[in-house]
Amino acid sequence: MPMLEVKEIRKAFDGLKVLDGVDLSVEKGDVIAILGPSGSGKTTLLRCLNFLETADSGEMIFDGEHFRLGHVSHRDIARLRKKTAFVFQNYNLFLNKTALQNVTEGLIVARKMPRDKADEIARKALEKVGLLDRCDHYPSQLSGGQQQRVAIARALATDPEIIFFDEPTSALDPELIGEVLAVMRQLAEEGMTMLVVTHEMGFARNVSSKVLFMEDGVVVESGASKEFFENPKSERTRAFIRNITGEPAV
């Protein structure tokens, strides 16, 4: 049984249909890369899954529980959010908190964990992303790549069932992308369930197990990543892959 399933999710902004009936199925341990041109609704999809946006309609099944999107109570939203984590394109670290406090905040404040236990978990998470030595630095004192790694540590610390990544490397200077991707690859290898909007084809091809290709608010093609890249079914997918890998259009 899938851990997270979404059916016919729809969302419009002022009449503009941004998600036009998207289906998604995530098994435990899946690493799904969500690809697609800019404006195709990828961010909106992730935000609806985490209730940062309210979908107009659709169905969500999370851990066997059914929810009618657009009609989920505040209490359920709060409960569901505690099972997930989100990594933003622009990190969104708490600017008034150190790296360590960024990670402990969700534990101490939201989950009422004792401080020493939260500190221990946070240190482990920061160690995992290679930033234990920066735990007392504020976001303004960290590079983009380091900030994003702290954001990943913050996501990890809450022991989520799934982590949503929205273009986690898009705001980074090219030389900083590698360090973030390395951390994500490690998580993938450890079996973390991840839904990753990305333009990094290397990650989609080599790290993710499945690919979901979106355009204009609909899923054009989805399947195992190997199959997707080696044997794309639709012409639009072929055009997209040609475009993004820079191979000449035939």
């Binding site: 505690k82 997930t84 933003f88 008034n96 976001p139 303004s140 809450t158």
Partner: protein, 223 residues
């Protein structure tokens, strides 16, 4: 400068400073504290767009900012007794200055709250925090830092504005000076003397502001 004048100035220094310490400063501190509570509450109401309260807050700010402090003082102290509400001068002054600080600082705080990046709130939700927890621990502290310099300005203005309370019989520094002038006719020297004492108070506050800004700056610039 004649010996008589020097005598008057030294003699009056204590007589002006004393009401400064026992009236001007308490009036400022009490009014500013109450005003800040009003300001934060009004800013939060507007920031959260609470339905019925927002227009009430807007109306309050509109009235207070659109009318002179002196007129407000007269309405509360000289006007209200006509409808049976008699307040002593100090209380009247505290009410007027608190409401005034509240209105101006509410606008400062609202702008500061709105300057906190949206993503801070969203990140808070994503780690499982509630709206109130995010406001208290993430958004308000950042807003306070942004608002600190303009709020300090308001505080310094308030110290000087308390001199208006002399008009409703509050014996603060300016009133005390006026009384000495009435006795000695040394208007120029004495009013300069009280001006310098106000300047002293403002300078101390400016130094405190600088120190506070340095303390608040620990987490660096916003990116």
């Amino acid at each position: 400068m004649s010996e008589r004048l020097i005598g008057i100035l030294t003699d009056s220094f204590g007589k002006i400073l004393l009401p400064g310490l026992t009236m001007t400063i308490p009036l400022t501190v009490i009014s500013f504290s109450i005003g800040m509570v009003i300001a934060v509450a009004c800013a939060l109401v507007q920031f959260a767009k609470i339905k019925i309260l927002t227009p009430i807050v807007r109306t309050y700010i509109w009235i207070i900012r659109g009318t002179p402090l002196l007129v407000q003082l007269f309405i509360i102290f000289y006007g209200l007794p006509n409808v049976g509400i008699v307040l002593d001068a100090f209380t009247s002054a505290v009410i007027v200055f608190s409401l005034s600080t509240g209105a101006y600082c509410a606008e400062t705080m609202r702008a500061a709250l709105e300057s906190v990046p949206r993503g801070q709130m969203e990140a808070g939700y994503c780690v499982g925090m509630s709206y109130m927890q995010i406001m208290r621990r993430i958004v308000l502290p950042q807003a306070f830092r942004t608002a600190f310099p303009p709020l300090s300005n308001s505080l310094i203005s308030l110290v000087k504005d308390t001199s208006l309370a002399a008009n409703i019989t509050v014996v603060e520094m300016f009133m005390a000076t006026q009384r000495i002038v009435a006795r000695t006719y040394e208007a120029l020297a004495l009013y300069i003397e009280v001006a310098l004492i106000y300047l002293l108070f403002s300078t101390v506050l400016e130094q405190l502001q600088r120190w506070g800004e340095k303390k608040l700056n620990t987490y660096g610039g916003q990116k």
